[in-house]
């Protein structure tokens, strides 16, 4: 280590293999001073000029901005702002061709200068040496500085790096022919560049700072040496003129004899590389308070009358630069952004310069001959001899042409830095770099596809397994059915009633309600902690379940025991029968972990509605039992206590719908749903629902339309009909929105659809609210059917690995809706209930998402509201409802327990 430092200080420079010596052509442009250009007519400032995310737009069309005023604010990771390059009016904010090889349109701010060039308030640091690390990083961040050498990596990220930095390397090599921007910058502003270096030293505290300059820039070397004289920790190193010595990895090898590990970054070996221009920008930001709004650009080539360097405002169109320097194009003119080796040709000169633009090259055909026809490779290995990364380009091109991706990776294709040295020397004029670029993209696509295929296979396997299991269940059920029939129904009913009575005696309604609420609250808290540690609770529940199962077994054995309870209601008997059937089903579904304590919940109060409620509870319990990995939101429980019987039924329908929606993604189930929904004899509701469903389906199919999610919150239903219509519209819109969102993130497709339809369906419940008690019973039956379906669904949902942003966007719609729905009367409350539950589930999914954004915040913020609205209603509820609530709560508890099992 000591030795290395000594060697570096002595001026030792190592070498990298390969390299070429293309004609320098630097004298064309490096003799004159950096020129100032007249203000252009318009500036096109793309929001994104670096690697990373866009900043958030903080100006609007028509606004007048001052020079240096930020136009965007940093938002997500790696986002740096852009600033107004001069004062003027924003005439438009629209996608414009970008300074990228593809020229893909990029959202840009178009500014018409007012000619005053009036600065906004600048806040230069008074004593830069006193600034803390964080303050400096923040200044760099806010000044919008990103790497100005080529890649455009956000400088603040590099400055804020956590690894210890041993060597800070300043890349002043500028190895590309023609370009002299850094050269002249160092000649004219060596002092500022050195100040920039010292700021970086202040931030990173490296052992040594090495400035690498090619030996073809003697003036720059002299200027920098003089400017850095006072600082012993800055070493100016002269490196031989070889292309590509300015490549980051090559420069590191040259100056420190270290190699950046493949697919690693320089910081991994304690090195950080900054470009000269970047450091100048840092100095300007700290000492002058000026954000990055202009840079030095070399405008050169034989078709330029006055080749030289200019200060160009970011966003200045290439055309302006060319016009100012005098430009007489030749036929089939090429205009290259960057140098002749790695630059890219522009499709149009109506493109604004960006932070990474260091050169505009407009060559004629003599100096840079047009490529000849590609000939066969004769494996002469001139390319391998030129390759600075010691690759075998001749082999790579062979594999690239035959699409042998494995071999390409074996031959380290991804270590190719695309410097173009191989293509430069190739006697067959094979566009090698182009082949590698294409191959790289293809390999990446292939990898992405493979991941997708794997996931699909996983899903398929899971589905197959599930279908097999279901089939088995069905068979088992057939086998057991006779046994069930042999039971004496009446006795069973009696048993159930007795149990219920027992319970109500033991508990008392209030305490039951209170307990339910308490449980629910506890659960919610756990849910909010993201990692519910409810193993203990789960154990408890498991124990209870066990007991319940034993009890049930016992009961079925002692069927002929005397009937103590009066059989006073036929209907209750029917309900109980249904309940038993369900319980059995559930038991089968679970194997030995049976949900036999359904029997408890099945205890029908001698009331129709109670039976219905119980049925709901059971249905839910089953679903929960099948949900394996899903972190179901525990909020469900406290919102689940329905206000009165009717509403319970309504809630059941709502739930059923929500579940149905979950299945809507498969689109096959929809027809069944329609059938089962038909029996609801409130015609209007049924019709409305049907329409809504149809619409929703249609909407789901609409692929390309982009609608705002905001649309959804326009629904404020007044009466049932209207509500139905509104709901239908809202649903359709939400779905559409979800689809639109989904376009950006395809792998997550299914989950999106599910979620969005979920929202929508819960709303539908409003349309069904007029249903009377009878219908409620029917609805309950439907609900059960749905519940089963949903349970299957839940399993499927688990398979979709990543809950995603789009989901949460769809969620957004929901909270707002729910607020409009919170109406004072009980019916509505029930509806709200259903919605809340649906939401809560979604929220649970959401919570899994650790990289949550503002969307999630909204959701979680909305959560607490609804429960608090519903809980007062609960306390006001009658005894019956309390029992129902308890039943529901138990069902939830089971669900939770199941979760607990899965987690433990």
């Amino acid at each position: 280590m000591e030795k290395l430092l000594e060697q570096i200080k002595k001026g030792t420079v190592w070498a990298f293999p390969g390299g070429v010596h293309p004609p320098q052509q630097k004298t064309l442009s490096n003799s004159a001073q950096i020129a100032r250009l007249p203000l252009p007519d318009k500036l096109v400032v793309p929001l994104k000029q670096h690697i990373g995310a866009n900043g958030k737009l903080i100006v609007e069309k028509g606004q007048h901005v001052l020079k240096g005023q930020p136009l965007t604010a940093p938002a997500a990771n790696w986002s740096v702002p852009v600033h107004a390059p001069t004062s003027g009016t924003i005439t438009d904010i629209a996608p414009m061709p970008s300074a990228h090889p593809s020229a893909l349109p990029e959202l840009s701010i178009i500014i018409e200068p007012d000619g005053n060039d009036e600065w906004c308030n600048l806040n230069p640091a008074i004593n830069p040496a006193k600034l803390s690390h964080d303050e400096l990083v923040d200044i760099i961040h806010q000044a919008g500085i990103s790497g100005m050498g080529g890649a455009g990596f956000p400088t603040y990220v590099k400055a804020d790096i956590k690894q210890p930095i041993e060597f800070l390397i300043v890349n002043a090599v500028e190895c590309e022919p023609y370009i002299t921007a850094d050269d002249v910058l160092m000649r004219e502003h060596a002092k500022q560049v050195v100040q920039g270096i010292e700021l970086m030293q202040q931030i990173l505290n490296p052992t040594l700072c090495i400035v690498g300059i090619e030996d073809n820039k003697p003036e720059a070397i002299a200027a920098m040496t003089q400017a850095a004289e006072h600082n012993a920790n800055i070493v100016i190193q002269t490196v031989p003129t070889v292309y590509p010595s300015g490549g980051e990895k090559q420069l590191i090898k040259l100056l420190t004899n270290r190699e950046v590990p493949s697919s690693g970054i320089p910081a991994d070996i304690g090195i950080l590389v900054h470009n000269t221009g970047t450091l100048f920008a840092v100095q300007q930001a700290v000492y002058e308070g000026k954000p990055l709004i202009e840079r030095v650009i070399t405008v050169t080539g034989n078709t330029i009358h006055k080749p030289g360097n200019v200060w160009a405002l970011l966003g200045t169109e290439i055309k302006h630069l060319l016009d100012c320097q005098g430009f007489s194009p030749v036929p089939q003119q090429r205009v290259v952004m960057g140098g002749p080796m790695m630059g890219f040709t522009l499709p149009t000169v109506r493109i604004g310069v960006v932070k990474t633009t260091n050169c505009i090259l407009a060559p004629d055909h003599k100096e840079l001959a047009e490529p000849g026809p590609e000939k066969a490779c004769i494996r002469c290995s001139a390319c391998a001899d030129a390759c600075p990364a010691s690759l075998l380009p001749q082999q790579l091109q062979w594999f690239a042409k035959s699409k042998e991706y494995d071999k390409l990776q074996e031959h380290n294709l991804f270590d190719c830095i695309e410097c173009g040295a191989c293509a430069y020397v190739c006697p067959s004029e094979i566009p090698l770099v182009q082949y590698y670029r294409v191959a790289k993209v293809e390999i990446k696509e292939q990898q992405a596809e493979k991941i997708k295929a794997d996931r699909a296979k996983e899903r398929f396997d899971a589905r197959k397994e599930r279908l097999e299991r279901e089939q088995e269940e069905r068979q088992n059920r057939h086998k057991r059915k006779p046994a069930a029939k042999s039971d004496d129904e009446k006795q069973k009913v009696a048993d159930a009633l007795a149990r219920v009575k027992n319970k109500s005696d033991n508990g008392g309604e209030k305490s039951a309600v209170a307990a339910a609420i308490a449980r629910a609250k506890a659960k919610k808290q756990q849910g909010e902690e993201l990692e519910p540690d409810n193993t203990e609770v789960a154990k408890e529940r498991a124990l209870r379940k066990e007991q319940a199962r034993k009890y049930k077994e016992q009961k079925s054995q002692t069927d002929d025991s005397g009937d103590t309870a009066p059989v006073d209601d036929k209907k209750s008997a029917v309900a109980a029968a249904i309940a038993r059937a369900k319980a059995k089903k559930a038991a089968q579904a679970q194997g030995d972990q049976t949900n036999t304590d359904d029997a408890n919940t099945a205890a029908p109060v001698d009331d129709k509605k109670a039976a219905v409620a119980a049925a709901i509870a059971r249905a839910k319990a089953k679903k929960a039992a099948q949900a394996q990995n899903e972190q179901v939101n525990t909020d469900d429980a406290d919102t689940a206590a329905p206000a009165d019987d009717k509403k319970a039924a309504v809630a059941a329908i709502a739930r059923a719908k929500a579940k149905k929606a979950a299945q809507a993604q498969d689109e096959q189930v929809n027809t069944d749903d329609a059938d089962t929904a038909a029996p609801v004899d409130d015609k209007k509701a049924a019709v409305a629902a049907a329409i809504a469903r149809a619409k929703a389906k249609k909407a789901a199919k609409a692929q390309d339309e982009q609608t705002n999610t905001d649309d959804a919150d326009t629904t404020a239903p007044v009466d049932d009909k209207k509500a139905a219509v509104a709901a239908a519209i809202a649903r359709a819109k939400a779905k559409k929105a979800a689809k639109a969102a989904e376009q950006t993130d395809q792998p997550n497709e299914p989950s999106i659809n599910e979620k969005s339809t979920d929202n929508v369906k819960s709303e539908e419940s409003q349309t069904d609210s007029p249903a009377d008690n009878k219908k409620a019973a029917v609805a309950a039956a439907i609900a059960r059917a749905k519940a089963k379906k949903a349970a299957k669904e839940a399993q499927q949902t688990e398979q979709s690995i990543e809950p995603n942003i789009d989901e949460s966007q769809a969620d957004n719609v929901k909270p707002e809706e729910s607020q409009t729905d919170s109406v004072t009367d009980n019916k509505k409350a029930a509806v709200a209930d259903a919605i809340t539950r649906a939401k809560a589930k979604k929220a649970a999914k959401e919570a899994q998402q650790t990289q949550s954004n503002e969307d999630t915040e909204q959701v979680t913020a909305a959560e607490p509201e609804t429960p608090s609205e519903t809980s007062p209603e609960q306390t006001a509820a009658q005894k019956k409802k309390a029992a129902v609530a308890a039943a529901i709560a138990r069902a939830k508890a089971k669900k939770l327990q199941k979760e607990g099992n899965d987690q433990s």
């Binding site: 190699e259 080796m341 040709t345 000939k375 004769i378």
Partner: protein, 352 residues
Amino acid sequence: MKLTMASSPHNHSHKSLTRLMLTVIAACIPGLIAQVFFFGTGVLIQLVLALVAVSAFEAAIMLMRKRPVWPALSDGSAWLTGVLLALSIPPLAPWWVIIIGCLFAIVIVKQLYGGLGFNLFNPAMAAYVLLLVSFPVQMTAWLPVSDLINTPIGFVDQLRLIFTDFTASGFSLDQMRTGVDGLTMATPLDTVKTDIAHGLTVTESMQKPLFNEWAGLGWMWVNLGFLAGGLYLLKTKIINWHIPVSFIVSLAICSAIGYIAAPGTEPGTLFHLLSGATMIGAFFIATDPVSAATTNKGRLIYGALIGLLVYLIRTFGGFPDAIAFSVLLINIAVPLIDYYTQPRTYGHGAVK
């Protein structure tokens, strides 16, 4: 304004296939001159025949493949093949020998494999081997150097010998090959091999007028000519040093070991290096980039293996010379060699 789009890099070194091939052909000139000097102008006749033949075959096959003719022809690779083949066969071999050779080299070995860059084997050497095994009499009928020929043969007679098999005065090639001592002359390598088989020592064999102090008369100069051309190729970086150096070193080491082991029956290092086709093989044949190894490490192995095989075949095999066989044999191993000799890529493996 309409701008032209192109992929980077936008600059080129102006190296071209044509220039590369023509440089190699030019580098053959010293060796060619030596051959003409010692073996007569027959080699020039063969050269012209070969150039015409390869051009015709290449053009024909390109037409059949419905590809443009001139770009393929002008890359010079076919001409180089023709030149190398013409330099390899006996100068007074009948005309149809070189024609068949060119046909085989261009049509079968090169174009049927997909054209330039796709041939597994060195076309000139594959053709040479075909000719050698098919027409052994014609292919071994080397004249002794002009000094030793009983009756020197003029240009017209050489022409007649190539096209009609007889000189104007009705002598056949075999009669013309009779040396001053009235015996038919073979090449030095052949002579030594035969003599050793007859129980003579190398020293005794090399007493013959066919030899000078170190190697075969004339042959030594031909080899030195090709060495000079080869050095020029190295200097212009048309070829890398790896193959010729490892080939020569390997052959030198093998022959040195053999000489030390059996001085009586082994002709020694210098003899091996300056006899037969050693130098043209080292610099012009083995370095054919298409069929040779392409990694530098691989080239060292490739050259060394050829050197070893050349020695083994010359010493123990049935043929006097072995460049063609060795090159073709090692051509087969090239994909394997290339695969296992990838250079260490930047950022991979042992870095301090």
